[in-house]
Amino acid sequence: MSSKAQSRIEALAASARRRRRLQAWLPWLVIAGTFILWEAATEIFDISTFILPAPSDVFLAAVKWWKPLLDDSLHTLISTLAGFGLAVVAGLLLGVAIGSSTLVYKGLYPLLIAFNSIPKVAVVPVLIIWFGIGVWPAIITAFLISFFPIVVNVATGIATVEPELRDVLRALGAKPSDIIRKVGLPRAMPYFFASLKIAITVAFVGSIIAESVAPNAGIGRLMMVASSRFDVPLVFAGLIVTGMMGIMLYWIAEFIERRTTGWATRGQDAQNFTPGG
């Protein structure tokens, strides 16, 4: 190889490294920048803490109330995960059923859509009548809200198996269950993980709605109590903790996704410079 080619390859690799480093740091830079802007804005425009507390006030409130904040966020995390877990199981089962049978699809879809259009806030009082104030309304609301995206995505993945591939398998004597197991399910996995990333974030919405309507425990209750005491910095602390939990779970979902369905996102990896690969 000529020295010119050598130096070009090295330059390419170096620029790819720089780009990767930037990609890793960028989210943190953006978050830090947001907080700095926010702090500066409250300072410059002299915004009252009651309207928009500065990040430093929020931080102080979080430190002051760290114990209830921790307890309540753990409570919310657990009921969210419980509801989300139920949604994953039920969503996968129903998604497979809907995706593999036109009959089930035609029969259930209108009902599912009608159900998903109902604002979940309106369902919480009913759940409280049924299950009483406690952890169940939060779990079930989280389940109800995160279940739909999973069903739709899994069903899409299974229903869009190429007809030729179906023919290849059927001509070998494959049963419908073989086709779902060998092709439908693996094919639906990227859709499934994409839906998990949506589902986990909306699951928080569900549990916190329930906690706010029936304040018993959790971040939702904490924020209701704080706002009734006009402790706006603590309300914001609750919001930020919720956002952090959302990001954390999103990352976990993404990590599992990358491990199991790397074949589906290779297009994005291709941008990276991989010599000899």
Partner: protein, 266 residues
């Protein structure tokens, strides 16, 4: 003469109810065991429909389809198929893609777990035969279109099907790759003698590969002409420059031109 392996007797196929499109009508043909036939015809004449009827994937509206002495009324479990698109599974390695039929065909799936090594060797041998030695661990996206199509061919052959259905398997490839794969297919056929039905719109391909070429009419499709291909095997580049070859291709082209105008031939 023994009983044909595939007997199609005056079948009709209509899509979408009584008023639907009539894809095939009064279509009859026989294929002997171990014979290689090619079906050519104007586009949209029902060639692919015919293939699906023979495999039992779709039921015929009228007439009889008999394969290996039995009436076809459900999907056969012994057909190897390949299409214009390789339709490989992107999450499986090349080797695992080729082994897919073994996990499905009843008689193999029972033995696969116990005799995995033996089956794997068979798949590797097949990959070697089509010129993909050393690619077993790769994934489909790492291979070119031609290589993917070779893999697809291996997948159609791995369970040693007595009947091979090929629906324009080479039409998405460039000329050089295509002619390469003709030789690969010829070699496999000569080694194993499966019964092959090749649907194609490439007349040179049909004459190069088949023992017999059948011409279909425009829709509703039926067989309007038939020519036996006389050249000795293995055929090669020389075969294609023989005057006989050129004459045969020209004759078939004439049939298709007539078929497109909807005129009678025979």
């Amino acid at each position: 003469m023994t009983r044909p392996f595939v007997e199609i007797d005056r079948v009709a196929m209509r899509y979408g109810g009584v008023e639907g499109t009539l894809a095939l009508q009064e279509c009859s043909l026989n294929v002997q065991q171990g014979e290689f036939i090619a079906v050519v015809g104007p586009s949209g004449c029902g060639k692919s429909t015919l293939m699906r009827l023979v495999s039992g994937l779709w039921p015929a509206t009228d007439g009889n389809v008999v394969v290996a002495g039995e009436e076809v009324d459900r999907p056969l479990s012994l057909v190897g198929m390949a299409f214009q698109n390789p339709t490989l599974l992107p999450w499986r390695s090349i080797l695992d893609n080729v082994m897919l039929p073994l996990e499905v065909v009843p008689e193999h799936r029972k033995r696969l777990r116990a005799e995995r090594a033996k089956y794997e060797q068979k798949a590797l041998d097949l990959l070697k035969l089509v010129g993909l030695e050393g690619f077993g661990a790769k994934y489909p996206y790492q291979l070119s279109g031609g290589m993917q199509q070779r893999t697809s061919l291996c997948r159609a052959l791995i369970h040693e099907p007595p009947l091979l259905m090929l629906d324009e398997p080479f039409s998405a490839l460039d000329v050089f790759t295509r002619e390469d794969l003709w030789d690969v297919l010829q070699q496999v056929w000569m080694a194993r003698k499966p019964t092959v039905v090749l649907v194609t719109h490439d007349l040179r391909e049909a004459c190069y590969l088949a023992d017999r070429v059948l011409v279909m009419s425009a829709r509703p499709g039926r067989i309007i002409a038939e020519r036996t291909v006389p050249f000795a095997r293995p055929r090669n580049q020389e075969t294609m420059v023989e005057p006989e070859f050129t004459k045969l291709v020209a004759e078939l082209r004439g049939f298709i031109a007539l078929a497109r105008k909807g005129e009678e031939v025979i």
